[in-house]
Amino acid sequence: MPGFKDKSGQSSFLLSAMKNLLRYIITRVLLTIPMIFILLTLVFVILRIMPGDPVSAMLGAHAPQEVIDKKKEELGLNKPIIIQYINYMNKLLHFDLGESMIFKQKVIVPIKQKLPATIELTLFGMFFTLLFGIFLGAYAASKRRTGRDFAVRIYANVVYCIPVYWMGLMLQLILGIWLGWFPIAGRVNARILVSTFERTGFYTIDTLLAGNLYAFGDVMLHLFLPSLTLGIVLSGIFVRLTRANMLDVLKSEYILSARARGIPERKIVYRHALKNAFIPILTMLGLQFALLLAGAILTEMTFSWPGIGRLLMERIYLRDYPTIQGVIVVFALFVSLVSLIVDIFYAMIDPRVKY
């Protein structure tokens, strides 16, 4: 962190830097709010002009018209759209996502239940993305302009064009069905009772907290294929990014001098150069987060993963407006939050960012 390098005195400098940073963070947060607001408005409009009547869908074919009308009144669906919109936004300001139309339950309940599954999948997917992306990228850079470099670059391009769900299906077919090494669906073996360990909803943590190593192993096995799928498909971008950054770093004087001092090339590439290429990679990870979420939805559909992506799709079929909106609010918050964190992180590291 260049801005904080000088630890000896100069506290006033530090203070003003902190102040600037704080101001930056506040402006950045304030900018995030209208963005979320615009998205929500857009989604609200889309959903309300969507054909299909959730009330008659939920009531069944036998419901007489007056019951339907009464239900609509109860749900506020008979009011003009603008009033519905104001009501919704008002509730949202009070952190209330409303109540599901199809199931008589708060929207937040299923979201809370399914969000951990999505986050767990996304985090492990990220792990594989970084694993493949950084190593192949660094490797290609160290062997630049050779056949191996070219092969890695082709990998990056091809992988970027693989539909994530197809990747998932092929891995399921080969590693799951033909070889039988990994389970291909769900989060845990059906014989293990979820209620015996569940606390946070992150099964990897929960099983460890419950001290059930057998369940932990099973959870890890179930996580493997979906996160690998997500990881491989997104690794293409990181391969290219790491390679480009590594090429820059490898040309720098710092590395040249290391080379001159006779440090082994492997050590230079993987220890010194990679460390320096790391910051832009992390930034990129933040920028690609939206892509990761979209990929997670498709992966959830392929692997029967009970996350909020599946929840979204199920509720779209049922026209459960409040839940659909709720899930999209969560997605929007997520994306904004991550980009916010990345921006702040970047601002802290790179003092050239305008506060």
């Binding site: 209208p34 963005m35 979320i36 615009i38 998205l39 857009l42 989604v43 889309i46 959903l47 002009i49 969507m50 054909p51 070219f150 391009n157 091809v158 970027y160 064009c161 693989i162 539909p163 769900y165 197809w166 299906l169 092929m170 399921q172 077919l173 069905i177 033909w178 290219r240 990014l241 480009a244 939206a290 892509l291 979420l293 979209a294 939805i297 498709l298 559909m301 392929t302 979204l312 799709m313 779209i316 659909i324 999209i328 997605f331 929007a332 994306v335 904004s336 980009s339």
Partner: protein
């Protein structure tokens, strides 16, 4: 006759002078641009081939893609059915060939639609500036920052299945891509000397936009257009895969893939392998074309 043209003659290209020149140009371009050139050519060949499939499917497909009596159900690839048959005994090869029409049509139309809306908006917004620009940028940035697929899902669900609807759903998502690109370019070109000069001599704003700014912006749009089609292909396929795309009766790769999914535990590999390969190949074609173009037209655009 120089040595070079002799070589060309030997390889059978001299008969028509034009072909020879094309070939020569290809070789020269290779020398000038290196690997990127071959990436571009490779992408173009894929696109040309699949476009041919889409335009003249009848010349390639052995069967009608909807014909349910081409052979046994779920036949593995073999004689008569190089890609096998599906659960209703339709020929998968024929479905792949006809399916190219849907996906190419949707992706291409969607990309054109979004550029037709995004480019003018970006031009005007960047050129006028002020509050108008701020509001538009904010809206476009919000949409852009959100996962495109989720937005497309919402739109597709709203509009219901159908070729036109899915095209619209895909198009909406990519408007901000063009908007942001064009607005950014416009902002920087606006400050260029020759634009200042035009303004100084009293050229009308519409003329400046049309004559000075638009032509300079459009070069970068070409590259993004190609990459954007690749993205649109992936989005269309994803929508079809999750069942929000098209009604039955229209061959479509994404839908065939979804269909094959339920036969996975029975080990019916051909129903999922081929549609996925097709989607990937087509997307790869446009990505490679775009990458090649970007290196050649504007080496600094996609440095990373």
């Amino acid at each position: 006759m120089t040595q070079k043209s002799k070589n060309i003659e030997a390889s059978g290209y001299s008969a028509s002078g034009r072909m020879g020149r094309v070939f020569e140009w290809l070789i020269n371009a290779n020398k000038k641009y290196g690997v990127e050139w071959w990436i571009l050519i490779f992408g173009a060949v894929i696109i040309l081939f699949i476009s041919y499939m889409a335009l003249f499917p009848g010349t390639l497909a052995p069967y009608n893609p909807l014909d349910q009596n081409t052979g046994p159900q779920l036949m593995a690839p073999g004689p008569g059915h190089p890609f096998g048959t599906d659960n209703l005994s339709r020929d998968i090869l024929s479905r792949m060939i006809y399916g190219s029409r849907t996906i190419l049509g949707v992706a291409f139309t969607a990309a054109i639609l979004s550029s037709l809306i995004g480019i003018p908006l970006g031009l005007i917004s960047g050129f006028i500036g002020g509050v108008f620009d701020r509001i538009f940028s904010l809206i476009m940035d919000s949409i852009y920052s959100f996962p495109g697929l989720i937005l497309a899902i919402a739109f597709a669900a709203m509009l219901g299945p159908g070729v036109v609807n899915i095209t619209l759903a895909v198009a909406v998502v990519y408007i901000p891509t063009y908007f942001r690109l064009v607005r950014g370019q416009t902002l920087s070109i606006k400050e260029e000397l020759y634009v200042e000069a035009a303004r100084a001599i009293g050229a009308k704003r519409s003329v400046i936009l049309r004559k000075y700014i638009f032509p300079n912006v459009i070069a970068t749009v070409v590259v993004v257009f190609s990459l954007n089609i690749a993205d649109a292909i992936m989005t269309e396929a994803a929508l079809s895969y999750i069942g929000l795309g098209l009604p039955a009766g229209i061959p479509d790769w994404g839908m065939d893939l979804a269909m094959g999914k339920k036969y996975l535990p029975s080990g019916i590999w051909w129903m999922i392998t081929f549609p996925g390969l097709m989607i990937m190949t087509l997307a790869l074609g446009f990505t490679m074309l775009g990458e090649g173009l970007s290196e050649i037209l504007n080496p600094r655009l996609l440095e990373r």
